[in-house]
Symmetry: C2
């Protein structure tokens, strides 16, 4: 991999790399894969795919396709999946509990190792092998368990405060499931997943018919 | 509401309407809200917000703000939240089970009323009050329970087939959680939520540091 080029990958390309990566595992193993086949399975155009993979430098033989193993290894490295990530759930309401019961991240190297809540009735309970701890223990646990990513699943009205507490506890990346925009220092990485927004896009589309 | 204008709302505006809608409920009730306050809570610019809300026609007094109750009612109507939606879970693996245990959609009028799987070991079990049914019963159940939206939570390799089966069973809208692009008739509405893509955007960003 041409690291210099890889460093220039725009963030818009990253979700597509994730998609290519999973497709490579989903498909029956063939040593080579063409941009055309990747296009069929992702819905991105073959031209787009060739442009995306060109960030890695010369890669694959024109007309023959990309070397699947090399492609897997390169994308794995680019996405930071060549190492394990420790994750915590912040807020064990409905969605937090659901995510504690969800092992899908683990396959990609993201392991939920802790859960936090402020509700005394929840603290101390164990879900899917994870004991729910008090928010007040977050700084200690983040340090001890080397937690890098927090899944923020608290209600919207307390999300900003909970996110600030997470950042003060040493968490540098937040996947925000709460329906609010978080104002955090620039060095904190935030991604927003709003499932309600997505389902409401569907209801909007159906209603318009 | 000016229906004519509302019909012209571009789909890119819809997720922002969802965000405004929830913010209006989250905030302490005041009869008026300014684009500035909405901006602070959503992260969208005040100019953007004014443009978005202008699709509804004249709405709110310049310099004074928008009428909160009127705004709620209008957005609710636009998003199709003035009615109930019946939803089913297709695939009761890890994520499907998590979504069966998640009641967050219900607050917005989306109720999970059925779950389907092809695994004989799962069929017949009850989770969160929902009995898991065989895929072969889908057409009957979709009709009987008037199901409009399917949450597709099957593995990637069977997602296309499961989606086609859902469409053949009468489902017109799919929220696709599987990591593959679905090829479906144009009249089927599809939204894609890929949680792994999102968490990998975080690991990419942390790794680049």
């Amino acid at each position: 991999m041409n690291i210099k080029k890889a460093d220039k990958i725009p963030s818009i390309v990253v979700p597509r790399l994730s998609r290519y990566y999973r497709i490579l595992f989903e498909l029956d193993s063939s040593p080579l894969i063409s941009s055309k086949v990747l296009s069929e399975h992702t819905g991105f155009t073959a031209a787009q795919i060739r442009r995306d993979l060109a960030y890695f430098g010369q890669f694959g033989s024109p007309g023959r396709g990309y070397n699947v193993e090399e492609l897997k290894k390169t994308i794995k490295n680019i996405l930071g999946l060549d190492r394990a990530w420790n994750v915590c759930v912040i807020g064990t309401g409905n969605l937090g509990m659901a995510l504690l019961g969800y092992n899908g991240f683990k396959d990609q190297g993201f392991e939920v190792v802790a859960a936090f809540d402020s509700d005394p009735e929840k603290i101390g309970k164990t879900v899917n092998g994870i004991k729910i701890l008090s928010i007040s223990e977050m700084a200690k646990v983040v340090r001890e368990k080397n937690i890098q990513i927090g899944l923020l699943t608290v209600p919207g009205r307390v999300a900003q405060q909970a996110a600030e507490n997470a950042v003060n506890s040493g968490i540098k990346s937040i996947m925000n499931f709460a329906p609010v925009h978080l104002k955090l220092p620039e060095n904190v990485k935030v991604r927003h997943i709003d499932m309600t927004v997505e389902i409401e896009r569907l209801s909007f589309m159906i209603s318009r018919e």
